[in-house]
């Protein structure tokens, strides 16, 4: 065996705190090593050429690259050695950057540690076997979860690209938060006017199969071949028959149903179509408020419906869809105002959230676009906006910036002036975050043209006095406490992970951060991919973002799906489990533990019962390998021998 070892400087990233020349020198002493060198930037083109040249020149058959994390460049170097004619599994990487050079400054200790890391990699690579991928067919249908603007964009781009799309939306209509907005920054165009046509397209596109008021029940399979179980929740209205005429809603006597679409600004009927432009435009009964469900009598809607669509007996229904890739676009949620007790929580009707204010501004909202105080329906003259209401607040576990509220506050301040010319807006802010194109100009306009008073400081307390709400804050630029007697207070409540985000991540086997936002594969270079191949992200489910970024990501995710589906076959990862039928005693312990049901019982010609791995199903976790009492089932590339050789490399010295 002739192992070649390449130690990377990564500029000064590694060489600054690791004596790379000494690591190479020590590597050379290890039996089996035929060649060892150190190089400035190994991943650069000349760096890779150097590896290829050395393979030829030195006749190397195994390669160790000691550099950054394999999560960064393993694929790069696998391709490199493949080009030089080696099987790509004859590569091992030693992570001497993230795990060594960057976490300590003691060059002596770091160098020792790097030598160990290289020894381990050498020990392992000598055990490596050539592995060959097999290819399988892709099911070229895509599932999009979440029908907000990001999900719709992804669905439309995929459908326009010729793919069959399954779109699953949890609520009764698509559109997400954007469908609730009045106007959008920084251009102040009507939100539903630009979103409406997209929603109609989604509803009518022959390639898009829309499941509204539905949720993902179960996801099975792997990239190229997923089986999805979808729960169609009972609406108690047969949507095949419902024409969306709205008669039922008019006549329903249960008038105090919570209006999810309007964030509770005003009540709605127990049977309702969420908003005039809803797609699909179908009615749905809320059994928490319907008298038929609560008291067992009413039936008004059933009597009135001209198409006989009402069905109080309806049950949830499970349907199965098969797809080859998944785009997750489940968006975000908003912080429960009740947590902000210093602002009164929801105790004071005239302290509302930004999204509720958006509904008050909206011409098709519950007040037909007249701004009024929820308490007495009068027109407010003094409106105070409180930014970062719960955002950037470590004390409640939301240390991050919600990203878009600075901008929408400026928008709302501008719109307020348009609606009520003799009004005065005040905005409490800590920083104005407006780094997009035309954004800062926009927040400036709110101040310069629309006269909004911006006060630099946080608000500490809000309380009622007479008919006014007193907002007590600081003006840190004046260095003083200030109070404003407001008619209406609008809190820019923090953006948080969507409800159920963690459960969804678990179904998809993707990671989420401490706050419940999904983790992308690389924060800069793979922003819409996840670490689970075949699953892509779009929109605010990955972190708070505004509409332009959400749409951009929706398109980007679609492009990723289209490029994945541009091939007919996919290569499987050959690092899967393999049974040594000689050693297997047929106990089937492995079968019981495999999380993917990838193992079946098989009978050899001799009649012997053994375990057998279904190649396309095995995900390569290795749980079976650590289960088997005989060492008969081995996860390729991570066999007992390979891992123990690494242990030996560092322990038996």
């Amino acid at each position: 065996m002739r192992v070649g070892v390449f130690i990377c400087h990564c500029g000064s990233n590694i060489a600054g705190t690791v004596d790379v020349a000494r690591v190479a020198a020590e590597a050379r002493k290890i039996p089996g090593v035929a060649f060892a060198t150190n190089y400035m930037y190994t991943c650069s083109e000349p760096g890779q050429d150097e590896i290829k040249a050395a393979i030829k020149r030195e006749n190397l058959d195994r390669i160790v690259v000691a550099a950054c994390s394999p999560r960064m460049h393993e694929n790069t170097f696998r391709k490199t050695i493949q080009k030089a004619g080696l099987n790509k599994y004859f590569l091992e990487m030693a992570n001497i950057r993230e795990h060594i050079a960057w976490i300590g400054n003691d060059k002596e200790l770091n160098t020792e540690k790097a030598i160990d890391a290289v020894s381990m990699a050498i020990a392992k690579v000598m055990q490596n076997k050539p592995l060959h991928a097999t290819s399988f067919k892709i099911n070229k249908r895509v599932l999009v979860i979440g029908g907000g603007v990001a999900g719709m964009q992804a669905a439309l781009d995929c459908a326009d690209g010729g793919l069959d799309v399954v779109l699953v939306e949890k609520s009764p209509a698509v559109g997400g938060i954007m469908a609730r907005l009045d106007k959008t920054f920084p251009t102040i165009d009507c939100s539903i006017c630009i979103l409406g046509p997209k929603m109609v397209d989604v509803g009518q596109h022959e390639k898009i199969k829309l499941f509204a008021y539905s949720e993902i029940e179960e996801i099975k399979g792997y990239i190229g071949n997923y089986q999805i179980k979808i729960r169609k929740k009972a609406t108690y209205v047969d949507w095949e028959k419902c024409t969306g005429c709205g008669l039922c809603m008019e006549k329903c006597p249960s008038k105090n149903s919570y209006d999810y679409f309007n964030f509770g600004v005003a009540p709605t009927k127990a049977i309702n179509i969420p908003f005039p432009q809803a797609i699909p435009k179908k009615a749905k009964i809320d059994p928490n408020y319907c008298r038929q469900f609560l008291k067992g009598k009413c039936g008004v809607c059933a009597k009135i419906c001209p198409t006989g669509a009402i069905n109080y007996e309806m049950k949830d229904e499970i349907v199965t869809e098969e797809v080859g890739a998944i785009v997750v676009a489940t968006g975000y949620g908003l912080l429960d105002q009740n947590i902000l007790t210093e602002y009164g929580g929801t105790r004071y009707p005239d302290v509302i959230s930004g999204i509720q204010y958006e509904r008050l501004l909206n011409a098709s909202g519950p007040t037909s676009g007249h701004i009024e105080r929820p308490s007495d329906h009068t027109e407010p003259k003094t409106i105070v906006f409180v930014s970062c209401a719960g955002s950037r607040d470590k004390s409640i576990g939301v240390p991050y910036c919600s990203g878009f509220c600075c901008m929408y506050i400026a928008k709302q301040a501008i719109l307020t002036k348009d609606h009520i010319p003799d009004s005065q807006s005040y905005v409490f802010y800590m920083d104005i975050r407006s780094p997009g194109k035309g954004y800062d100009e926009f927040t400036r306009r709110a101040q310069e043209e629309y006269g909004a008073q911006y006060i630099r400081g946080r608000v500490s307390k809000i309380y009622p006095k007479g008919k006014k709400m007193i907002v007590r804050g600081a003006d840190t630029l004046l260095g003083t406490q200030v109070e404003i007697e407001a008619d209406l207070v609008v809190l820019a409540t923090a953006a948080i992970a969507a409800e159920g985000a963690a459960e969804m991540a678990e179904k998809l086997h993707i990671s989420y951060d401490t706050f419940g936002f999904y983790v992308e594969s690389h924060p800069k270079l793979r922003p819409v991919e996840t670490n689970t191949s075949g699953v892509f992200l779009a929109g605010a489910c990955q972190g708070p973002k505004d509409i332009p970024s959400s749409v951009g990501q929706g398109s980007a995710a679609a492009a990723k799906v289209l490029s994945l589906f541009s091939r007919d076959m996919l290569e499987s990862d050959p690092a899967i489990a393999q049974v040594n039928t000689n050693a297997c005693v047929g106990c089937l312990k492995c079968l019981k533990t495999c999380p993917f049901q990838a193992i079946v019982e098989d009978t050899l010609r001799s009649g012997k019962k053994v375990a057998k791995v279904i190649e396309t199903v095995c995900a390569g976790c290795g749980v079976c390998t650590s289960t088997c009492p005989c060492g008969a089932i081995q996860l390729q590339h991570f066999t007992d021998n390979q891992l123990l050789s690494e242990v030996s490399a560092i322990c038996q010295m």
Binding site: S395, S460, T476
Partner: protein, 194 residues
């Protein structure tokens, strides 16, 4: 006025001393002003509390130790409760008072004297004994005028309702309590030597 020359006038040792003594990290403060916004006493402060935090970040030792603010803070905990960065601001003010005491820089002598009288009364009587405390406050610190006024305001109302007793409670001094103070002085002296 000249620009504040931060190269010369940043007292890094003071910042370090503060950090060590308090266990608080002034860098956590992002100057949102919430503490000032909620502080009931801010109108009486010479520097609002968020500015004290800023002065601390920039190592302005003299300004801080000579401020009235640190003595007028009532430890009401409003700032600590609402600080989004989880800084125990009231504790910061407390520690600044300790440093100011040690360095003999007390901008609000009356407030300090009151605290001292209170403790003196505790040392003597082992419990706070209001009449005794007021007498100490009057005698030792010569605040005759205000004290006389105090006597006028509070005395009659309290005495007629049997609220102030002229005599301390039966306990009348407990050797252990006095010892706590004695041992504490000794501890302080030893610390100072080091």
């Amino acid at each position: 006025m000249d620009a504040l020359n931060l190269t010369e006038k940043t007292d890094w040792t003071f910042i370090e001393q503060f950090k060590k003594e308090s266990g608080d990290n002034p860098s956590l403060c992002y100057q949102c002003g919430n503490c000032t916004a909620g502080c009931p006493y801010t109108h009486y402060f010479d520097y609002p509390v968020s500015m004290i935090m800023r002065l601390l970040q920039t190592g302005q030792k003299e300004t801080i130790l000579n401020s009235k603010a640190i003595w007028l803070c009532a430890t009401c905990e409003t700032c600590t409760t609402r600080c989004p960065c989880e800084i125990d601001v009231a504790h910061v003010m407390d520690v600044l008072r300790h440093i100011a005491r040690r360095e003999n820089k007390v901008a609000e002598k009356g407030v300090k004297s009151f605290y001292d009288s209170f403790l003196k009364s505790v040392k003597l009587f082992s419990r706070m004994y209001e009449v005794g405390m007021i007498m100490i406050y009057m005698l030792r610190y010569g605040y005759m005028l205000s004290a006389a006024k105090l006597g006028m305001d509070i005395g009659p109302k309290f005495l007629t309702r049997g609220k102030l007793s002229f005599f301390p409670h039966e306990l009348m001094g407990n050797a252990e309590v006095a010892r706590i103070f004695k041992k504490y002085r000794k501890m302080e002296k030893e610390r100072a030597k080091k």
